[in-house]
Amino acid sequence: MSSSAPAFNGAEADLDAYAAQAAHQLGEAVALMRGYLALLEPRGEHDAELGTVVRGMAAGAERAQRFVDDLLDLAASGREALAVGAVPLGEALGAARLRLVDDLRDAGADLRSKPLPVVRGDRELIVRLLCHLLRASLAAGATTIEVEGVHKDGFVRVEVRDDGQPASGEPFAPFARARGRGPLVGAGVGLTVSRRIVQLHGGAIGLDADAGGGAVATFTLPAEE
């Protein structure tokens, strides 16, 4: 299967508005719950049963926060202003690896890359793009992820190849969960946000089944001259 990303449309703009509202409503509730849990936590140190309850609720709150994070990311990704500069992809991938260090470890996943070119773009957005693609690989059950990049016609073409489940349906549609749920529970918007970030930079993104099993996400970003 081969999927290239469609453009941002009006229906998605409405969805963004809803995502922003939902993120703030849910985020407020999660913040309040975490606040009470922080108050209870010291008492849990003296009360084993209470401590177990607090830890369980805290784990639930963290999962809910991840959902909030994704909704905030989706809502923001349609209206980001780019802070453009030279971005070494290898350094950006290192930053993404650092942000997902726990998730990669928990999944037992091996992330490899060859030396990567320098692109021109917004560093923070590119790190987020890589985070989302890596998370999609982990959600698909990947244990090996390889990142490669080459220069092509003024752009850098990057491939993120993994051995996880290939995508199904419309992978770049919001909430599609096209690569499964895996161990990471988010809102299912990572590939949508990835597509928007790439398009904001004037690039293109696609997702294909890999000939050797698994999947390969390919995107282009302007090369730094």
Binding site: H24, E28, G35, Y36
Partner: protein, 239 residues
């Protein structure tokens, strides 16, 4: 000469301009806040897009005031406030949020914030509110003030039921201490808590040891200090 020096802070009592960090995950909101504050002669020394960054910047710069958003990726505004006010107690935090929930407001204050403002109050009022926060004043709505007063009225004269957030005493030991503060006898406490007299004696012994005191009267005084916050976290006395 900078615009700031020409216009002054708008408050002639201030010799040094207020130093503020603005925290909001929305870049547009940050820019709007920065413009409003800078126009009022306030120096925005840094901006943060999330709770973790806010904690790091506050620890590094030690601003007078942090203007904090509530809902952000990763670490939310309440959690960030708790860490900032714990690590740098001189830094004031004012939560500025679209929420008008009193529950959220109360939790924000519990976490250590000096203020809780709804974005609907209008940004024109913000510079003055931040200067008040720096001077040690609370920046809360009249409705929230009333909730705090109601809370105060619910507290018994002897403070029974009030406990510090962190304490070496277990909940059961606090129950025993509450009753000691009411000058109840060991037998009375045993009846009230449906415990054996021996168990109550054991709890009292543990309370005295943890509070570092030798008598019930000293324990009652120590409880008063813990409740009023004179003993930080309830741990200093124990040590």
């Amino acid at each position: 000469m900078s615009k700031q020096e020409l216009e002054g802070s708008g408050n002639p009592r201030d010799e040094d301009p207020l130093r503020v960090i603005v925290v909001d995950d929305d870049p547009l909101a940050r820019r709007m806040l920065r413009d409003v504050l800078q126009d009022a002669g306030i120096v925005v020394i840094a901006e943060a897009g999330g709770g973790r960054e806010a904690i790091e910047l506050s620890t590094y710069y030690k601003p007078d005031v942090v203007v904090m958003d509530l809902v952000m990726p990763g670490i939310d505004g309440i959690a960030a406030t708790r860490q900032i006010t714990h690590q740098t107690p001189d830094v004031r935090v004012v939560m500025l949020t679209s929420s008008d929930s009193e529950e959220v407001g109360l939790m924000t204050l519990r976490a250590g914030a000096s203020g809780f403002l709804c974005k609907s109050v209008g940004l024109d009022a913000l510079p003055r509110a931040l200067r008040c926060a720096k001077e040690g004043e609370a920046v809360v709505s009249r409705q929230l003030t009333m909730r705090l007063i109601e809370g105060m009225r619910r507290v018994r004269e002897d403070g029974a039921g009030m406990r510090p957030i962190r304490s070496p005493l277990t909940p059961r030991e606090w129950e025993v201490l509450d009753l000691l503060c009411q000058e109840r006898s060991t037998d009375d406490i045993a009846d009230t808590l449906v415990l054996s007299v021996e168990t109550v004696r054991s709890h009292i012994k543990s309370v005295l040891r943890k509070l570092g005191v030798r008598s019930r009267q000293e324990a009652i005084k120590a409880a008063g200090r813990l409740r009023s916050g004179l003993v930080p976290d309830g741990l200093a006395e124990a040590s």
